[in-house]
């Protein structure tokens, strides 16, 4: 025990000396700090895109929401449900009800081409035909501007992310849907979830415009509770009149987001690893310089009886402190520059755009700090070993 305390106090003492010499090596220390800061900023920045998309598509989905598609369909695009099927779904056990009836909305999903505000290029925007229960099926639906569309008329309301990202969705503007002009009468929000990237209208008006007869593509329901899901699912999948697939809304969107989130995460990680190698070389260089400039000091300490362990620990600690400083600066930069930054990207499952905000989460900042620490430790390890193996007598003679 006494030995351990002694060893720790040696580490503390040697680390203190080495940190006090950092100002004499400000240039190389600062370049290591900023190199690592750059890597962490990019790492956190890119991953905040994936995090933002995930939050939009998954995190904000209500746990008591469920979606019903035709069996075998992976997305709404590929699904189809007849009127009778949607009626059976709305009456299934587990579906929540209010004074106006069951919280179930049979919906139609088509794609419009609208120019992006940022680039002016056309992009796919989902236009959703909904039933009257749709706003109540989504727990957090609220109009933020204008009014609700009138049922039975060529009117639409636009989600706030869609209105922000695409031109022509301001209240009062008109859209060409099919061969007719449709009026934008309101803007709605749904607490940042995927619906905000959509345009809504009455399903009954949308069906003839796209010659869909009386068919839908999905049914959205709100269940009594998240626990009612199994009962609801069992009732539908065992009903011989139906051939459907039932999913929890959050799980469905998690699956929908996998491709894009994985793509961005993998790309972001590759970029961060490549940049990290550069920063690693910078850190190695800094710490080799530090060790070589401190050769006299290290040799003197060793000659006085300090063991190599504390010397190794002091070099590693210095590298770690510099790297973590870089990590903090980088994380801070990423937070200031990216958090909340709004953008839109393609959702490959629905072939339409998803509006989202970059999310620099505490978890990402921790990941950034861990990554910077890793760069620091690896960058400090070889110089530390060199310092530990320094032959004391030779080192003293050379000075």
């Amino acid at each position: 025990m006494v030995g351990l305390i002694n060893w720790l106090s040696q580490i503390t003492a040697v680390t203190k000396f080495s940190l006090r010499t950092v100002p004499e090596r400000l240039g190389s220390s600062a370049s290591a700090v900023f190199g690592i800061a750059g890597v962490v900023a990019v790492f956190v920045g890119v991953l905040s895109i994936a995090q933002g998309i995930r939050q939009t598509m998954v995190t904000s989905a209500a746990p008591e929401g469920a979606i019903v598609l035709r069996s075998g369909a992976d997305s709404e695009m590929m699904s189809g449900l007849g009127r009778e099927a949607t009626r059976i779904i709305s009456e299934a056990p587990g579906v929540a009800r209010d004074a106006e009836g069951p919280l179930s909305s049979a919906e139609l999903f088509v794609i419009l081409n609208l120019p992006k505000r940022s680039t002016g290029t056309d992009a796919n925007v989902p236009l959703r035909g909904v039933e009257r229960a749709a706003p109540r099926v989504r727990a957090d639906f609220r109009l933020v501007e204008g009014r609700m569309f009138e049922w039975g008329r060529n009117e639409v309301i636009a989600g706030s992310a869609a209105a922000r990202e695409f031109a022509g969705l301001d209240v009062g503007a008109s859209l060409e849907v099919g061969r007719e002009q449709w009026q934008v009468v309101g803007i709605f929000a749904t607490n940042g979830d995927l619906s905000e990237s959509e345009i809504w209208t009455d399903a009954k008006v949308l069906q003839p415009a796209y010659r869909r007869g009386d068919s839908f593509q999905s049914a959205r329901v709100r269940l009594n509770s998240a626990g009612s899901f199994q009962e609801f699912k069992d009732a539908l999948t065992s009903d011989p009149r139906l051939d459907v697939k039932v999913a929890r809304q959050d799980e469905f969107f998690a699956e929908q987001s996998i491709v894009v989130v994985t793509l961005i995460t993998v790309l972001g990680t590759i970029i961060a690893v490549i940049m990290g190698l550069g920063a690693l070389i910078g850190a190695l260089n800094t710490m080799y310089t530090a060790v070589s400039e401190r050769t006299r000091e290290i040799a003197t300490l060793r000659a006085l009886g300090f063991r190599s362990g504390p010397v190794v620990a002091s070099v590693l600690t210095e590298a770690l402190i510099l790297a973590l400083a870089g990590g903090l600066v980088g994380g801070g930069l990423a937070y200031v520059a990216f958090d909340g930054f709004q953008a839109a990207t393609m959702n490959w499952q629905s072939f339409s755009q998803v509006g989202f905000a970059f999310a620099v989460t505490p978890q990402l900042l921790v990941q950034g700090a861990v990554y910077s620490a890793l760069i620091g430790l690896v960058g400090g390890l070889f110089p530390a070993i060199r310092a530990a193996r320094l032959p004391v007598a030779t080192a003293l003679r050379e000075l």
Partner: protein, 232 residues
């Protein structure tokens, strides 16, 4: 550390081999040395004769390629690196030609360094440091940094650091090599006093006959042989 016959250091048949490319250079070639407790020994010889190498072997800073080194009855050539470091901290006081003080620490903190390897409390360490700085006459400069001290003063701090743990032996490698005559005399007076008044055993490597004259015995090392007279 007690030793029969009063011999503190016993170097037997040591050689140190250095490699220079493919060539092997034998520096000490089987040197013998015995040093009684309480002696002030000066070691002279031309550059490259191996004086510092011998000093380093006795101080446990290096290991012999052949032969044995015994200090206070302990075969230090057999100790592991870890044990050797601990042994140095307890038994060896080192004085360097270029002082080797840590520039970021005050005189007081520099002197305290070897005490960080002991179990002394902070208060006890401060007491020892004050006493050591008192011995070298630098009590009033304890808060100065090395760059604020003259060469002679820095070397006195170096000596205070070497004696603060009350080591068995003081090993001084050209302690006056970087100093003017006055400062050099001050350092030599200090070393003599430590030897005569406190009974410290001192081994001093030097080029300077004036410095060597202060020692109780002078040995000359040349081509691996130790002699009482310089070779003509």
């Amino acid at each position: 550390m007690s030793e029969s016959n009063n011999v503190l250091v016993r170097v037997h048949d040591v050689d140190k081999v250095f490699r220079r490319g493919s060539e092997e250079v034998h520096v000490l070639g089987g040197a013998h040395l015995e040093m009684p407790d309480g002696e002030f020994l000066a070691l002279m010889g031309p550059s490259g004769s191996g004086k510092s190498t011998l000093l380093n072997l006795i101080g446990g800073l290096d290991r012999p390629s052949e032969g044995t080194v015994e200090v206070g009855g302990l075969r230090i050539d057999r100790l592991s690196d870890r044990k050797l470091a601990g042994w140095r901290a307890r038994h060896i006081g080192l004085v360097f030609q270029f002082y080797n003080l840590l520039p970021v620490l005050t005189a007081e903190r520099n002197v305290e360094l070897p005490l960080l390897l002991t179990h002394l409390s902070r208060a006890e360490r401060r007491k020892h440091v004050a006493a050591a700085l008192g011995v070298v006459g630098l009590k009033d400069r304890s808060q100065h940094y090395p760059r604020q001290l003259s060469g002679g003063e820095q070397q006195r701090v170096g000596i205070a650091r070497a004696i603060v743990t009350d080591p068995t032996i003081l090993l001084c490698d050209e302690p006056t090599g970087d100093l003017d005559r006055t400062s050099s005399d001050e350092i030599l007076n200090l070393l003599s006093a430590l030897n005569e008044e406190q009974g410290k055993t001192i081994m001093m490597v030097t080029h300077d006959p004036h410095a060597a004259a202060r020692a109780s015995r002078t040995l000359y090392l040349d081509k691996g042989k130790l002699a009482t007279e310089p070779e003509e």
